[in-house]
Each structure stands twice: as structure tokens, then as C-alpha cells.
Symmetry: C2
Subunit: 149 residues, 2 copies
Amino acid sequence: MTNDNEASAPLGAGETIETTLNFSPRFGPDGLIPAIVTDLRSGDVLMFAHMNDTALSKTLTTGLAHFWSRSRAKLWMKGEESGNLLRVGEIRTDCDQDVIWLAVNVEGDGVACHTGERSCFYRRLVGGADRPDQTALEIAALPHPRSRD
Amino acid sequence: MTNDNEASAPLGAGETIETTLNFSPRFGPDGLIPAIVTDLRSGDVLMFAHMNDTALSKTLTTGLAHFWSRSRAKLWMKGEESGNLLRVGEIRTDCDQDVIWLAVNVEGDGVACHTGERSCFYRRLVGGADRPDQTALEIAALPHPRSRD
């Protein structure tokens, strides 16, 4: 998705942010880039967080996912306390290079959410309501039926 | 992930945002909530965008994904020009209810990215570099090898 920030690395002649093979992550005005985390095997979305430049660099260096905690205003290695580290299998970026996608294996207990659920997305919307305030949730633990494992 | 905004619907006694079965989407200070879009069959991440309250309501009403375009500052039905509409199969929210996950079938040509790629995430990071500015990208079209289809 487009935002108003400049690319953080120069583009070559004739290149655009969509075509370049230079990794030029575009951090937002707050210095953060959103990161989607999926399970490498099942493809299920496990969590969503943000990275600053240091978190991204540490993720690349160590192969373990690091984020910037907005609530605690600190760098954070996911699983540093629980042991549920996220070992990165693949990193992608999107057309505009303002989103990061990490496909990971969850170490330890295989739990990615602070609630103890495997994924943060353990509730789905139900019902035919046409307004958010008329919509309910139900617990629907992943893996999703489409998952392989 | 935690942010500083209040839940948009009241919680029952003893409930938390993590446990409630009331859908209480938490929009950010800019009135937006991030939305991850995956392919309902393969699980691949297709795109990432933002919704305001109206976009979320219209998505629920129509079963077709609507977003708020930050660059154009307008409501946007994905595929309204291309015909590549996103028909929603399932909607989930995360522990803190500040992220939306849409699992969709892409109509039309099956293309979700404005570049013509099926997914916006058509490039992956390569190489052993330990800094973002030493990391290259390569084209690696989805579906991912783990995908079913």
C-alpha cells in the first residue's frame, strides 16, 4: 500500500519501488513498518506487529523475529521470555516495500500469542449482521481446515 | 498487538478484549485498522491495507472487501475498476482486536496486486546479509510451495 514516505535506498535508472530488486524498506512517519507473521508450514497468520530499523536488522542478523513494542516502547525479541522464538524461514516484502511478511517456525511450545493460543487470530466473526456492532465472535482455533499439518 | 485506544464496544463483567465474544474492533488514532488479506484456499498473503469504520461495515454488508485508501483519502472497493473483487470467505480478528484478517477468493483474473501480480508479496529477501541495505530481493511468485492449489 502506498504511503507518503520516501524509499530508504536509492532506485536505479528506470526502476520503481515495485520493480527494484534492492531491498528498500519504507518505514512510516513513526519509524515503523508493519510485519505480518505466518506459519511456514500451514500458512496460517500467527500475529501482526511492527518493526523499527533495528528490529529488522536484528531479525536479518539472527534469523529470529524481533519487533518494536509500541506499548512498551522497546525492542523485543519475540519469545525471549516464553521460549517461543520465531525462527524465520522466509521474508517477503510487498509491492510498495512498506510491509514485511515473515514465514516462521515457532519454537518452544509452538505458541505465538501472549494468551497461550497458537495464533493471535483465534476468533472469527459469525452471523449475517451487516454492522460491526451487531457482529459476534466465536472461538475457532487454528490450524484452519485448509492447513496441511 | 496492544495500542492505546479504547475498545469500541463495552466489555461484559470479567471480560477482557482478549476473551470477549463481542466484536469490538479497535481503530487507531487515525480511525483505521490494519487488514491482512490472504487467499482462502492457499493461505498465501495477498495484500495488506487499512479499513475505516465504513470500509469494515461495507465489507460485512456486501461480502466484498472494502478499504480506506490513505494515499487517495477515499473509500475503496478492491477491484471496483479491475473486476478483481475480493469475496470474503472468513474474517478473523486478533487477541487485541486491533487487526483484521480477511480470507478471500479473488474474482476476475485472480490478481490482487495493482502491478498485475497475484499477490503484492512477489519478492523475497535473499542472501546472508545482516543489514537491510546489504540485502537483495528476488522475484518469487506465489503460490508458495506449501500451497495446496
